[in-house]
Point group: C2
Chain length 258, copies 2
DNA sequence: TTTGACCTTGACGCGACGTCAACGTGTCTA
DNA sequence: TAGACACGTTGACGTCGCGTCAAGGTCAAA
């Protein structure tokens, strides 16, 4: 047989056969006078065996190891390992499909974003365009909703629920307005400390504890942990210096309260 | 934020972030005076969203399309399509695991080869070393056992069962010996036609029909079908001219009988 | 003789990055 | 002030299992 016949017989391309030669998986057969490879029956048996195993999902390198010398001993281990690997893959795909189903339900309800229904509810209660600080909160909440695992998120949403009550909402919007008023103020403006105290009063105890536990800038001591990064500076980049000072004071107050 | 902070926050490598810029998935942020990229909160939101979707199995290209302009309309379709794709993958892996389990059972029983137990039984009944023709049969049967689907194989094995009875076996071995005797004979040796007839008599009717239907050299007319290849020549390469002639005559007789 | 089907080797391309090179920048320490 | 060290920049190559094209050589049929 020439290479095309062998390939057609086993059902692969000639490129595949030559590639297997290149890898040393299939021995190079004798050549005819014109340089063509001349295959025999046993080559097609070897090739068919390679394909049989490859189609089960074995990598060609694993194949070479398994078929190398002792065909029986190693092969069984490799196949068992492969089965475990395939089982893992099935589970992983199942988990992905679960998350996908969750996401699809969210997309159905809120096509414009990718947050859960509850989080979308919270976001809708934030002041719309115009408030730069509300925009920062919006981004923070969206980030959390994409990154945090569902359990943590649900806990957080439960704590935020009271803030969406009509009167709490009105006070919240007033606080946002006062924050926005500080856009051009100096960090030592007298309104800064007052606003921070009012914000602290607005935040329920349980939520304060959660913020202290999770916001790096509020944890004890100076920035000694690499994980902490530079949260405060990052936020400062998003808002004015006076507004950043409000945030810093607020976190200090919450930490003292905890 | 600089690129390392962004990457650590979202849990990817800096290379990944730059790759997403390269693909246009994530917009390039402003640069500092020193050329460093300067990221803001919204960049981390965008990056987290990309990762969230990518981890579900969407390709980056699909992601770019889905997140391009209309986030809601397209995304749902893409996600549904992805779910179908994942379901297909799960099924494919399941099928692979089924075949793997079959193969494992075979390997347990017959560690030296990769054939089913029944086929191993047939192979064991063939004359051992020394008979070149039996070696050819051995390779042909092994090839069939690797390539044919299990149903066809089972049918074939059932037809071969009578040939492994003690007396049929003895006659079969005698026929192999007579074939091997023709190794150095001329194609017009008088033993050729006799042996072909004896072989034909040794093959049960039903099996003859199966061979005529499946062996290209036995089908009607000259080689007119590309699929037929050059079976006869291939076999001739494995055995002597006289032996090849026996095979040719045998197939002709079987065809006439059908 | 020319076509057309086959063979040869060699090289590039894919997808989603990892990894290394060669270099500039910023911060901390001796 | 110098050096160490961590970080940033762009660019290029490697991964895996081949597909695909390039530029030729070989062979049977029209």
């Amino acid at each position: 047989m020439r290479i095309g016949e062998l390939a057609a017989l086993v059902g692969v391309s000639t490129r595949t056969v030559r590639y297997y030669h290149h890898l040393g998986l299939l021995p190079e057969p004798a050549r005819l006078a014109n340089g063509y490879r001349e295959y025999r029956l046993r080559d097609s048996v070897a090739l068919a065996r390679i394909r049989h195993l490859a189609e089960l999902g074995l990598s060609l390198e694993e194949l070479r190891d398994a078929l190398a010398d002792d065909e029986g001993r190693d092969l069984r281990e490799v196949l068992l390992e492969l089965d475990a690997e395939l089982a893992r893959q099935q589970e992983a795909i199942g988990a992905r499909r679960d998350r996908l189903a969750t996401l699809l339900a969210e997309v159905d309800l809120h096509p414009d974003s990718m947050v859960t229904g509850d989080m979308a509810e919270v976001l809708r209660h934030l002041p719309a365009e115009g408030s730069t600080f509300a925009q920062v909160d919006r981004e923070l909440l969206t980030l959390v909703s994409v990154m945090a695992d569902p359990a943590d998120q649900a806990r957080m949403l439960k704590l935020m629920r009271p803030l969406t009550e009509p009167d709490a909402l009105a006070r919240g919007h007033a606080l946002y307005a006062r924050l926005d008023d500080l856009a051009d103020a100096e960090p030592d403006d007298h309104r800064v400390a007052v606003l921070a105290a009012d914000l602290a009063a607005h935040i329920p105890d349980e939520m304060a504890r959660l913020m202290v536990a999770n916001v790096p800038a509020a944890r004890s001591g100076p920035v000694d942990n690499a994980d902490d990064g530079r949260w405060l500076e990052v936020l400062s980049g998003e808002v004015s210096p006076a507004q950043a000072e409000v945030f810093r004071l607020l976190m200090t107050m919450l930490k003292e309260r905890a």
